[in-house]
Protein backbone atom coordinates (compact mmCIF):
# COMPACT_ATOMS: atom_id res chain seq x y z
CA UNK A 1 0.00 0.00 0.00
CA UNK A 2 1.20 3.41 -0.84
CA UNK A 3 2.11 5.65 2.04
CA UNK A 4 0.26 8.57 0.52
CA UNK A 5 -2.89 6.51 0.18
CA UNK A 6 -2.59 5.39 3.77
CA UNK A 7 -2.13 8.94 4.98
CA UNK A 8 -5.11 10.01 2.93
CA UNK A 9 -7.21 7.26 4.48
CA UNK A 10 -6.12 8.18 7.99
CA UNK A 11 -6.75 11.83 7.31
CA UNK A 12 -10.18 11.08 5.93
CA UNK A 13 -11.00 8.95 8.96
CA UNK A 14 -9.84 11.62 11.41
CA UNK A 15 -11.79 14.29 9.57
CA UNK A 16 -14.94 12.18 9.45
CA UNK A 17 -14.72 11.19 13.09
CA UNK A 18 -14.19 14.76 14.18
CA UNK A 19 -17.10 15.99 12.13
CA UNK A 20 -19.38 13.27 13.48
CA UNK A 21 -18.34 13.94 17.07
CA UNK A 22 -19.10 17.56 16.46
CA UNK A 23 -22.41 16.56 14.95
CA UNK A 24 -23.55 14.55 17.98
CA UNK A 25 -23.99 17.60 20.18
CA UNK A 26 -26.29 19.61 17.88
CA UNK A 27 -28.16 16.40 17.06
CA UNK A 28 -28.83 15.83 20.73
CA UNK A 29 -29.91 19.44 21.13
CA UNK A 30 -32.34 19.19 18.23
CA UNK A 31 -33.84 15.92 19.46
CA UNK A 32 -34.23 17.27 22.99
CA UNK A 33 -35.83 20.42 21.65
CA UNK A 34 -38.28 18.34 19.61
CA UNK A 35 -39.10 16.34 22.71
CA UNK A 36 -39.60 19.45 24.85
CA UNK A 37 -41.86 21.19 22.38
CA UNK A 38 -43.82 18.20 21.11
CA UNK A 39 -44.58 16.86 24.58
CA UNK A 40 -45.63 20.34 25.66
CA UNK A 41 -48.01 20.73 22.74
CA UNK A 42 -49.51 17.31 23.34
CA UNK A 43 -50.06 18.18 26.97
CA UNK A 44 -51.81 21.43 26.05
CA UNK A 45 -48.88 23.54 27.18
CA UNK A 46 -46.70 26.07 25.41
CA UNK A 47 -43.39 24.52 26.25
CA UNK A 48 -40.22 26.57 26.43
CA UNK A 49 -40.74 29.89 24.67
CA UNK A 50 -38.38 32.36 26.29
CA UNK A 51 -34.92 31.50 25.00
CA UNK A 52 -34.56 32.42 21.35
CA UNK A 53 -37.42 32.55 18.86
CA UNK A 54 -40.16 30.13 19.99
CA UNK A 55 -37.75 28.93 22.66
CA UNK A 56 -35.60 27.29 20.04
CA UNK A 57 -32.41 27.37 22.06
CA UNK A 58 -33.85 25.97 25.28
CA UNK A 59 -32.23 22.57 24.87
CA UNK A 60 -28.90 24.21 24.06
CA UNK A 61 -29.15 26.21 27.24
CA UNK A 62 -29.98 23.04 29.18
CA UNK A 63 -26.94 21.36 27.68
CA UNK A 64 -24.50 24.13 28.48
CA UNK A 65 -25.96 24.47 31.97
CA UNK A 66 -25.34 20.81 32.61
CA UNK A 67 -21.76 21.19 31.48
CA UNK A 68 -21.23 24.07 33.88
CA UNK A 69 -22.49 22.20 36.93
CA UNK A 70 -20.33 20.83 39.68
CA UNK A 71 -19.18 17.30 39.04
CA UNK A 72 -19.64 15.16 42.12
CA UNK A 73 -18.39 11.70 42.86
CA UNK A 74 -19.80 9.75 45.77
CA UNK A 75 -17.31 8.81 48.48
CA UNK A 76 -17.81 5.10 48.13
CA UNK A 77 -17.89 5.06 44.34
CA UNK A 78 -15.35 3.15 42.34
CA UNK A 79 -13.69 6.19 40.83
CA UNK A 80 -12.05 4.89 37.61
CA UNK A 81 -15.14 3.04 36.43
CA UNK A 82 -17.48 5.75 37.66
CA UNK A 83 -15.58 8.25 35.54
CA UNK A 84 -15.32 5.94 32.55
CA UNK A 85 -18.94 4.82 32.26
CA UNK A 86 -20.52 7.93 30.68
CA UNK A 87 -17.64 8.12 28.26
CA UNK A 88 -18.25 4.51 27.20
CA UNK A 89 -21.95 5.08 26.63
CA UNK A 90 -21.37 8.24 24.67
CA UNK A 91 -18.62 6.77 22.55
CA UNK A 92 -20.73 3.74 21.70
CA UNK A 93 -23.41 6.06 20.35
CA UNK A 94 -20.96 8.34 18.56
CA UNK A 95 -18.94 5.51 17.01
CA UNK A 96 -21.99 3.83 15.58
CA UNK A 97 -22.64 7.00 13.62
CA UNK A 98 -19.59 6.26 11.52
CA UNK A 99 -21.39 3.85 9.19
CA UNK A 100 -24.63 5.75 8.70
CA UNK A 101 -25.08 6.69 5.04
CA UNK A 102 -26.30 10.28 5.08
CA UNK A 103 -26.59 10.96 1.40
CA UNK A 104 -25.27 9.52 -1.84
CA UNK A 105 -21.54 9.23 -1.38
CA UNK A 106 -21.66 10.81 2.08
CA UNK A 107 -20.68 8.20 4.61
CA UNK A 108 -17.83 8.43 7.07
CA UNK A 109 -16.51 4.90 6.70
CA UNK A 110 -17.46 2.81 3.71
CA UNK A 111 -17.40 -0.76 4.94
CA UNK A 112 -18.72 -3.99 3.54
CA UNK A 113 -19.78 -5.19 7.00
CA UNK A 114 -21.29 -1.99 8.35
CA UNK A 115 -24.44 -3.77 9.61
CA UNK A 116 -22.37 -6.06 11.79
CA UNK A 117 -20.21 -3.17 12.92
CA UNK A 118 -23.24 -1.05 13.78
CA UNK A 119 -24.98 -3.58 15.99
CA UNK A 120 -21.73 -4.62 17.64
CA UNK A 121 -20.78 -1.08 18.56
CA UNK A 122 -24.22 -0.02 19.65
CA UNK A 123 -24.36 -3.05 21.93
CA UNK A 124 -21.29 -1.75 23.73
CA UNK A 125 -23.33 0.92 25.51
CA UNK A 126 -24.82 -1.73 27.77
CA UNK A 127 -21.37 -2.21 29.27
CA UNK A 128 -21.26 1.46 30.09
CA UNK A 129 -24.70 1.42 31.71
CA UNK A 130 -23.88 -1.68 33.75
CA UNK A 131 -20.60 -0.20 34.89
CA UNK A 132 -22.33 3.06 35.78
CA UNK A 133 -24.89 1.23 37.87
CA UNK A 134 -22.31 -0.82 39.66
CA UNK A 135 -19.75 1.90 40.26
CA UNK A 136 -22.18 4.41 41.77
CA UNK A 137 -22.52 2.52 45.06
CA UNK A 138 -26.23 3.18 45.08
CA UNK A 139 -28.96 0.59 45.15
CA UNK A 140 -31.14 2.44 42.67
CA UNK A 141 -28.20 2.67 40.28
CA UNK A 142 -27.47 -1.00 40.72
CA UNK A 143 -31.05 -1.96 39.96
CA UNK A 144 -31.04 0.35 36.96
CA UNK A 145 -27.77 -1.07 35.66
CA UNK A 146 -28.93 -4.64 36.01
CA UNK A 147 -32.25 -3.83 34.39
CA UNK A 148 -30.44 -2.24 31.48
CA UNK A 149 -28.20 -5.29 31.08
CA UNK A 150 -31.13 -7.68 31.07
CA UNK A 151 -33.21 -5.52 28.78
CA UNK A 152 -30.61 -4.62 26.20
CA UNK A 153 -29.07 -8.05 25.95
CA UNK A 154 -32.52 -9.59 25.49
CA UNK A 155 -33.63 -7.16 22.83
CA UNK A 156 -30.36 -7.27 20.96
CA UNK A 157 -31.35 -10.69 19.65
CA UNK A 158 -34.72 -9.93 18.02
CA UNK A 159 -33.31 -6.60 16.86
CA UNK A 160 -30.49 -8.25 14.97
CA UNK A 161 -32.55 -11.21 13.77
CA UNK A 162 -35.18 -8.95 12.29
CA UNK A 163 -32.54 -7.37 10.10
CA UNK A 164 -31.17 -10.70 8.82
CA UNK A 165 -34.16 -11.16 6.52
CA UNK A 166 -33.26 -7.94 4.79
CA UNK A 167 -29.64 -9.00 4.64
CA UNK A 168 -30.66 -12.23 2.90
CA UNK A 169 -32.78 -10.32 0.43
CA UNK A 170 -30.15 -7.78 -0.43
CA UNK A 171 -27.28 -10.15 -0.13
CA UNK A 172 -25.19 -7.48 1.50
CA UNK A 173 -24.02 -6.37 4.91
CA UNK A 174 -23.38 -2.82 3.87
CA UNK A 175 -25.90 -0.09 4.46
CA UNK A 176 -24.93 1.69 1.26
CA UNK A 177 -25.53 -1.38 -0.83
CA UNK A 178 -28.84 -2.01 0.91
CA UNK A 179 -29.99 1.45 -0.07
CA UNK A 180 -28.82 0.80 -3.57
CA UNK A 181 -30.87 -2.42 -3.58
CA UNK A 182 -33.91 -0.53 -2.32
CA UNK A 183 -33.48 2.03 -5.10
CA UNK A 184 -33.97 -0.71 -7.64
CA UNK A 185 -36.46 -2.99 -5.86
CA UNK A 186 -38.50 -0.67 -3.68
CA UNK A 187 -38.26 0.13 0.00
CA UNK A 188 -37.47 -2.50 2.57
CA UNK A 189 -40.81 -2.05 4.30
CA UNK A 190 -42.53 -3.47 1.22
CA UNK A 191 -40.41 -6.60 1.30
CA UNK A 192 -40.09 -7.00 5.05
CA UNK A 193 -43.28 -5.48 6.41
CA UNK A 194 -43.41 -8.22 9.02
CA UNK A 195 -39.93 -7.47 10.31
CA UNK A 196 -40.58 -3.77 10.67
CA UNK A 197 -42.72 -3.90 13.87
CA UNK A 198 -40.26 -6.32 15.43
CA UNK A 199 -37.40 -4.02 14.63
CA UNK A 200 -39.31 -0.96 15.81
CA UNK A 201 -40.28 -2.45 19.18
CA UNK A 202 -36.86 -3.93 19.76
CA UNK A 203 -35.18 -0.69 18.80
CA UNK A 204 -37.36 1.25 21.22
CA UNK A 205 -36.37 -1.13 23.97
CA UNK A 206 -32.74 -1.08 22.94
CA UNK A 207 -32.49 2.68 23.43
CA UNK A 208 -34.55 2.63 26.63
CA UNK A 209 -37.38 4.79 25.41
CA UNK A 210 -40.91 4.76 26.78
CA UNK A 211 -42.70 2.37 27.16
CA UNK A 212 -39.53 0.41 27.83
CA UNK A 213 -37.69 2.93 30.01
CA UNK A 214 -37.35 0.70 33.05
CA UNK A 215 -33.68 1.58 33.16
CA UNK A 216 -34.30 5.09 34.38
CA UNK A 217 -37.85 4.69 35.62
CA UNK A 218 -38.44 7.92 37.49
CA UNK A 219 -41.22 6.65 39.65
CA UNK A 220 -39.53 3.41 40.70
CA UNK A 221 -35.77 3.68 40.81
CA UNK A 222 -35.15 7.38 41.06
CA UNK A 223 -33.05 7.99 37.97
CA UNK A 224 -31.73 4.49 37.47
CA UNK A 225 -28.07 4.17 36.57
CA UNK A 226 -27.71 7.95 36.41
CA UNK A 227 -28.88 8.59 39.98
CA UNK A 228 -25.45 9.56 41.28
CA UNK A 229 -24.23 11.36 38.19
CA UNK A 230 -24.16 15.11 37.98
CA UNK A 231 -22.77 17.80 35.78
CA UNK A 232 -20.89 16.86 32.66
CA UNK A 233 -20.99 13.13 33.23
CA UNK A 234 -24.75 13.20 33.49
CA UNK A 235 -24.70 15.35 30.38
CA UNK A 236 -22.91 12.56 28.53
CA UNK A 237 -25.64 10.08 29.50
CA UNK A 238 -28.26 12.63 28.56
CA UNK A 239 -26.73 13.30 25.16
CA UNK A 240 -26.04 9.64 24.48
CA UNK A 241 -29.66 8.75 25.09
CA UNK A 242 -30.94 11.24 22.56
CA UNK A 243 -28.17 10.59 20.06
CA UNK A 244 -29.06 6.91 20.29
CA UNK A 245 -32.67 7.80 19.55
CA UNK A 246 -31.55 9.67 16.47
CA UNK A 247 -29.26 6.85 15.35
CA UNK A 248 -31.93 4.22 15.77
CA UNK A 249 -34.35 6.28 13.71
CA UNK A 250 -31.66 6.76 11.09
CA UNK A 251 -30.95 3.03 10.86
CA UNK A 252 -34.66 2.27 10.78
CA UNK A 253 -35.02 4.66 7.88
CA UNK A 254 -31.97 3.20 6.17
CA UNK A 255 -33.20 -0.37 6.45
CA UNK A 256 -36.89 -0.02 5.82
CA UNK A 257 -37.55 3.37 4.27
CA UNK A 258 -34.86 3.67 1.69
CA UNK A 259 -32.43 5.92 3.53
CA UNK A 260 -31.85 9.03 1.45
CA UNK A 261 -34.05 7.85 -1.41
CA UNK A 262 -36.97 9.94 -2.53
CA UNK A 263 -39.83 7.92 -4.04
CA UNK A 264 -40.31 8.33 -7.82
CA UNK A 265 -37.46 10.83 -7.99
CA UNK A 266 -34.04 9.95 -9.25
CA UNK A 267 -31.46 11.96 -7.35
CA UNK A 268 -29.17 13.91 -9.66
CA UNK A 269 -25.42 13.59 -9.35
CA UNK A 270 -23.29 16.23 -7.74
CA UNK A 271 -23.94 18.58 -4.86
CA UNK A 272 -27.64 18.96 -5.58
CA UNK A 273 -28.23 15.24 -5.23
CA UNK A 274 -26.32 15.18 -1.96
CA UNK A 275 -28.38 18.02 -0.53
CA UNK A 276 -31.65 16.46 -1.63
CA UNK A 277 -30.60 13.11 -0.23
CA UNK A 278 -29.61 14.69 3.09
CA UNK A 279 -32.94 16.50 3.30
CA UNK A 280 -34.90 13.35 2.55
CA UNK A 281 -32.89 11.38 5.09
CA UNK A 282 -33.33 13.93 7.88
CA UNK A 283 -37.04 14.38 7.27
CA UNK A 284 -37.65 10.65 7.51
CA UNK A 285 -35.39 10.28 10.54
CA UNK A 286 -36.97 13.10 12.47
CA UNK A 287 -40.39 11.72 11.71
CA UNK A 288 -39.47 8.60 13.65
CA UNK A 289 -37.96 10.73 16.40
CA UNK A 290 -41.35 12.40 16.56
CA UNK A 291 -43.06 9.01 16.78
CA UNK A 292 -40.85 8.06 19.71
CA UNK A 293 -41.72 11.29 21.49
CA UNK A 294 -45.39 10.70 20.75
CA UNK A 295 -45.14 7.28 22.37
CA UNK A 296 -43.47 8.78 25.39
CA UNK A 297 -46.37 11.17 25.86
CA UNK A 298 -49.03 8.53 25.50
CA UNK A 299 -47.93 5.25 26.97
CA UNK A 300 -47.25 4.13 30.50
CA UNK A 301 -44.28 1.95 31.23
CA UNK A 302 -44.44 -1.84 30.95
CA UNK A 303 -43.21 -3.98 33.79
CA UNK A 304 -39.89 -5.75 33.86
CA UNK A 305 -41.28 -9.28 33.60
CA UNK A 306 -43.71 -8.26 30.84
CA UNK A 307 -40.79 -6.74 29.01
CA UNK A 308 -38.68 -9.86 29.21
CA UNK A 309 -41.49 -12.22 28.33
CA UNK A 310 -42.30 -10.09 25.34
CA UNK A 311 -38.72 -10.32 24.09
CA UNK A 312 -38.33 -14.07 24.54
CA UNK A 313 -41.87 -15.33 23.94
CA UNK A 314 -43.02 -13.10 21.11
CA UNK A 315 -40.39 -11.07 19.37
CA UNK A 316 -37.71 -13.74 19.16
CA UNK A 317 -39.98 -16.48 17.70
CA UNK A 318 -41.50 -14.00 15.30
CA UNK A 319 -38.10 -12.83 14.16
CA UNK A 320 -37.00 -16.42 13.65
CA UNK A 321 -40.12 -17.25 11.66
CA UNK A 322 -39.54 -14.18 9.56
CA UNK A 323 -35.96 -15.26 8.97
CA UNK A 324 -36.93 -18.77 7.86
CA UNK A 325 -39.78 -17.63 5.65
CA UNK A 326 -37.58 -15.05 3.95
CA UNK A 327 -34.81 -17.57 3.41
CA UNK A 328 -37.28 -20.10 2.02
CA UNK A 329 -38.76 -17.59 -0.40
CA UNK A 330 -35.35 -16.50 -1.56
CA UNK A 331 -34.39 -20.14 -2.13
CA UNK A 332 -37.64 -21.17 -3.82
CA UNK A 333 -37.94 -18.25 -6.21
CA UNK A 334 -34.20 -18.07 -6.61
CA UNK A 335 -34.11 -14.32 -6.07
CA UNK A 336 -30.80 -12.80 -7.05
CA UNK A 337 -29.62 -9.76 -5.19
CA UNK A 338 -28.89 -6.86 -7.47
CA UNK A 339 -25.74 -5.38 -6.15
CA UNK A 340 -24.84 -8.72 -4.59
CA UNK A 341 -21.63 -9.33 -2.79
Amino acid sequence: MDVGELLLGVGRFVLATTLLLLLTVPTAFIVIQIELKVIAQMQLRFGPNRVGPWGMFQSTIHGFKVLAKEDTTPDQADRPTFTMAPWMVFMAAAMSMLVIPWAPGLVAVESSISVVYFFAVLGLSVVGLLVAGWASYNKYSLLGGLRSAAQMVSYEIPLTLSVVGLVILTGSLSFTEMIEWQRVNGWGIAWQWWAFPIFFIAATAEINRTPFDMVEADSEIVAGFATEYSGMRFGFFFFAEYVALFIMSAILVTLFFGGWLIPFVELPDGILGTVMGLLSFFIKTYFFVFVAVWMRTTLPRVRVDQLMSMAWKWLLPLALVNLFVTAAIVLIFNLQPVGGA
Binding site: L36, A40, Q43, L44, R45, F46, G47, P48, N49, R50, V51, G55, Q58, I61, H62, F64, K65, V66, A68, K69, E70, D71, T72, D218, V222, A223, A226, T227, E228, Y229, S230, G231, F234
Partner: protein, 223 residues
Amino acid sequence: MALTPQPPKTDTSAGSGDLLHGNPAPIVIPDGAGDDELLREFGMEEHPRGGFHGLLEVIPTKADYILDLIRANSLWPLLSGLSCCAIEMMSTATSKNDIDRFGMFPFRASPRQADVLIVAGTLTTKMAGPLVRLWEQMPEPKWCVAMGTCTTSGGRFKRSYSVVQGVDRVMPVDVYVPGCPPRPEGLIYGMLKLHELVKQRRGQWSTYVDRGPQRVAWEGDVR
Protein backbone atom coordinates in the same frame (compact mmCIF):
# COMPACT_ATOMS: atom_id res chain seq x y z
CA MET B 1 -1.12 43.68 82.25
CA ALA B 2 -2.83 46.42 80.39
CA LEU B 3 -6.39 47.00 81.47
CA THR B 4 -7.33 48.70 78.23
CA PRO B 5 -6.98 46.74 75.02
CA GLN B 6 -3.84 47.70 73.24
CA PRO B 7 -3.68 47.78 69.47
CA PRO B 8 -1.43 44.98 68.30
CA LYS B 9 1.99 45.98 67.12
CA THR B 10 1.99 45.66 63.39
CA ASP B 11 4.94 44.75 61.32
CA THR B 12 4.58 45.61 57.69
CA SER B 13 7.50 43.62 56.42
CA ALA B 14 6.37 40.71 54.31
CA GLY B 15 6.27 37.31 55.88
CA SER B 16 6.56 38.42 59.45
CA GLY B 17 2.89 38.02 60.26
CA ASP B 18 1.94 35.67 63.01
CA LEU B 19 -0.28 33.50 60.89
CA LEU B 20 -0.59 30.80 63.47
CA HIS B 21 -2.10 33.12 66.04
CA GLY B 22 -4.48 34.85 63.78
CA ASN B 23 -2.50 38.01 63.11
CA PRO B 24 -1.68 37.90 59.42
CA ALA B 25 0.50 40.65 58.17
CA PRO B 26 -1.38 43.27 56.19
CA ILE B 27 -0.52 43.16 52.55
CA VAL B 28 0.99 46.45 51.50
CA ILE B 29 1.25 47.23 47.82
CA PRO B 30 3.93 49.80 47.17
CA ASP B 31 3.04 52.67 44.91
CA GLY B 32 3.95 52.63 41.28
CA ALA B 33 4.93 49.01 41.17
CA GLY B 34 3.19 46.00 39.67
CA ASP B 35 1.36 45.65 36.43
CA ASP B 36 -0.27 49.06 36.26
CA GLU B 37 1.88 50.15 33.34
CA LEU B 38 1.05 46.98 31.53
CA LEU B 39 -2.65 47.48 32.10
CA ARG B 40 -2.43 51.06 30.84
CA GLU B 41 -0.74 49.81 27.73
CA PHE B 42 -3.79 47.68 27.06
CA GLY B 43 -6.03 50.67 27.25
CA MET B 44 -7.30 50.25 30.81
CA GLU B 45 -8.04 53.40 32.74
CA GLU B 46 -7.65 54.01 36.41
CA HIS B 47 -10.80 54.57 38.32
CA PRO B 48 -10.80 57.43 40.82
CA ARG B 49 -11.86 55.03 43.59
CA GLY B 50 -9.23 52.46 42.80
CA GLY B 51 -8.87 49.67 40.34
CA PHE B 52 -8.85 49.64 36.60
CA HIS B 53 -11.58 49.37 34.10
CA GLY B 54 -11.61 49.10 30.37
CA LEU B 55 -11.36 46.71 27.52
CA LEU B 56 -9.83 43.72 29.25
CA GLU B 57 -12.60 43.66 31.77
CA VAL B 58 -14.87 42.31 29.09
CA ILE B 59 -13.36 38.87 29.06
CA PRO B 60 -14.15 37.67 32.60
CA THR B 61 -17.26 39.75 33.15
CA LYS B 62 -19.00 38.91 29.91
CA ALA B 63 -18.19 35.23 30.21
CA ASP B 64 -19.66 35.26 33.68
CA TYR B 65 -22.67 37.15 32.43
CA ILE B 66 -23.34 34.60 29.70
CA LEU B 67 -22.87 31.74 32.12
CA ASP B 68 -25.31 33.36 34.52
CA LEU B 69 -27.81 33.86 31.72
CA ILE B 70 -27.52 30.19 30.86
CA ARG B 71 -27.96 29.14 34.46
CA ALA B 72 -30.91 31.42 34.99
CA ASN B 73 -32.74 30.07 31.98
CA SER B 74 -32.22 26.44 32.83
CA LEU B 75 -33.17 25.92 36.46
CA TRP B 76 -34.15 22.33 37.08
CA PRO B 77 -36.12 21.96 40.29
CA LEU B 78 -35.83 18.91 42.47
CA LEU B 79 -38.95 16.77 42.38
CA SER B 80 -39.54 17.02 46.09
CA GLY B 81 -42.68 18.18 47.77
CA LEU B 82 -43.25 18.11 51.48
CA SER B 83 -46.95 18.78 51.80
CA CYS B 84 -49.78 20.97 50.58
CA CYS B 85 -47.60 23.39 48.64
CA ALA B 86 -46.33 20.45 46.60
CA ILE B 87 -49.70 20.22 44.90
CA GLU B 88 -49.56 23.88 43.93
CA MET B 89 -45.97 23.38 42.84
CA MET B 90 -47.12 20.59 40.54
CA SER B 91 -49.95 22.79 39.37
CA THR B 92 -47.32 25.40 38.48
CA ALA B 93 -45.64 22.87 36.25
CA THR B 94 -48.79 21.72 34.50
CA SER B 95 -50.80 23.02 31.60
CA LYS B 96 -52.55 26.03 33.12
CA ASN B 97 -49.46 27.69 34.56
CA ASP B 98 -46.73 26.25 32.45
CA ILE B 99 -43.42 26.94 34.18
CA ASP B 100 -41.70 25.04 31.38
CA ARG B 101 -41.88 28.29 29.45
CA PHE B 102 -38.94 29.50 31.54
CA GLY B 103 -36.98 26.30 31.11
CA MET B 104 -37.79 24.83 34.48
CA PHE B 105 -39.70 21.78 33.53
CA PRO B 106 -37.55 18.71 33.86
CA PHE B 107 -38.31 18.11 37.52
CA ARG B 108 -35.35 15.90 38.34
CA ALA B 109 -35.95 13.05 40.74
CA SER B 110 -32.32 12.82 41.73
CA PRO B 111 -30.78 15.70 43.70
CA ARG B 112 -27.55 15.21 41.79
CA GLN B 113 -29.08 16.77 38.71
CA ALA B 114 -31.18 19.50 40.27
CA ASP B 115 -30.35 23.19 40.42
CA VAL B 116 -33.02 24.60 42.67
CA LEU B 117 -34.68 23.10 45.70
CA ILE B 118 -38.24 24.31 46.08
CA VAL B 119 -39.08 23.55 49.67
CA ALA B 120 -42.81 23.15 49.26
CA GLY B 121 -44.60 22.50 52.49
CA THR B 122 -44.19 22.28 56.23
CA LEU B 123 -40.76 21.16 57.36
CA THR B 124 -40.90 18.93 60.40
CA THR B 125 -38.05 18.06 62.72
CA LYS B 126 -38.08 14.51 61.47
CA MET B 127 -37.82 15.66 57.87
CA ALA B 128 -35.21 18.35 58.53
CA GLY B 129 -32.30 15.93 58.46
CA PRO B 130 -33.25 14.25 55.19
CA LEU B 131 -33.96 17.63 53.60
CA VAL B 132 -30.55 19.02 54.60
CA ARG B 133 -29.07 15.85 53.23
CA LEU B 134 -30.85 16.41 49.94
CA TRP B 135 -29.59 19.97 49.86
CA GLU B 136 -26.05 18.82 50.48
CA GLN B 137 -26.34 16.22 47.74
CA MET B 138 -27.18 18.86 45.16
CA PRO B 139 -24.12 20.01 43.22
CA GLU B 140 -23.13 23.66 43.03
CA PRO B 141 -24.39 26.05 41.83
CA LYS B 142 -27.69 25.60 43.60
CA TRP B 143 -30.47 27.76 44.92
CA CYS B 144 -33.26 27.31 47.39
CA VAL B 145 -36.79 28.67 47.24
CA ALA B 146 -38.93 28.57 50.36
CA MET B 147 -42.50 28.19 49.20
CA GLY B 148 -45.34 29.00 51.54
CA THR B 149 -45.55 30.43 55.01
CA CYS B 150 -44.77 27.13 56.68
CA THR B 151 -41.33 27.08 55.13
CA THR B 152 -40.66 30.74 55.72
CA SER B 153 -41.67 30.87 59.34
CA GLY B 154 -43.60 27.83 60.43
CA GLY B 155 -46.84 29.45 59.41
CA ARG B 156 -49.95 28.18 61.03
CA PHE B 157 -47.97 25.37 62.68
CA LYS B 158 -45.46 27.69 64.29
CA ARG B 159 -46.43 26.63 67.78
CA SER B 160 -46.21 22.94 67.08
CA TYR B 161 -43.78 20.67 68.86
CA SER B 162 -42.58 19.02 65.69
CA VAL B 163 -42.34 21.80 63.14
CA VAL B 164 -39.19 23.70 62.16
CA GLN B 165 -39.97 27.39 62.35
CA GLY B 166 -38.75 28.32 58.93
CA VAL B 167 -36.53 26.39 56.61
CA ASP B 168 -33.85 29.08 56.90
CA ARG B 169 -33.01 27.58 60.26
CA VAL B 170 -31.52 24.60 58.52
CA MET B 171 -30.36 25.81 55.12
CA PRO B 172 -29.74 29.03 53.21
CA VAL B 173 -32.71 30.39 51.31
CA ASP B 174 -32.69 32.68 48.28
CA VAL B 175 -36.33 33.50 47.66
CA TYR B 176 -39.27 33.39 50.04
CA VAL B 177 -42.69 33.00 48.45
CA PRO B 178 -45.48 33.89 50.86
CA GLY B 179 -48.93 32.36 50.80
CA CYS B 180 -50.61 29.37 52.29
CA PRO B 181 -50.13 27.91 49.78
CA PRO B 182 -49.00 30.49 47.21
CA ARG B 183 -50.91 30.55 43.99
CA PRO B 184 -48.99 29.16 41.01
CA GLU B 185 -48.61 32.71 39.76
CA GLY B 186 -46.91 33.49 43.05
CA LEU B 187 -44.43 30.70 42.62
CA ILE B 188 -43.73 31.78 39.05
CA TYR B 189 -43.10 35.31 40.29
CA GLY B 190 -40.74 33.91 42.90
CA MET B 191 -38.88 31.92 40.30
CA LEU B 192 -38.53 35.00 38.12
CA LYS B 193 -37.11 36.81 41.13
CA LEU B 194 -34.69 33.93 41.40
CA HIS B 195 -33.73 34.57 37.78
CA GLU B 196 -32.77 38.11 38.77
CA LEU B 197 -30.75 36.83 41.71
CA VAL B 198 -28.93 34.37 39.50
CA LYS B 199 -28.18 36.97 36.86
CA GLN B 200 -26.92 39.49 39.40
CA ARG B 201 -25.04 36.89 41.42
CA ARG B 202 -26.91 37.85 44.53
CA GLY B 203 -27.96 34.35 45.50
CA GLN B 204 -26.53 32.57 48.49
CA TRP B 205 -24.45 30.45 46.16
CA SER B 206 -22.15 33.23 44.96
CA THR B 207 -21.52 34.49 48.45
CA TYR B 208 -21.30 31.06 49.98
CA VAL B 209 -17.52 30.90 49.81
CA ASP B 210 -17.06 34.30 51.42
CA ARG B 211 -19.10 33.45 54.46
CA GLY B 212 -17.17 30.32 55.18
CA PRO B 213 -18.73 27.11 56.37
CA GLN B 214 -22.32 27.55 57.42
CA ARG B 215 -23.49 26.35 60.73
CA VAL B 216 -26.22 23.86 60.08
CA ALA B 217 -28.51 24.33 63.00
CA TRP B 218 -30.91 21.50 62.60
CA GLU B 219 -29.34 19.09 65.01
CA GLY B 220 -31.26 19.44 68.21
CA ASP B 221 -31.54 23.19 67.93
CA VAL B 222 -34.67 23.50 65.93
CA ARG B 223 -38.02 22.80 67.28
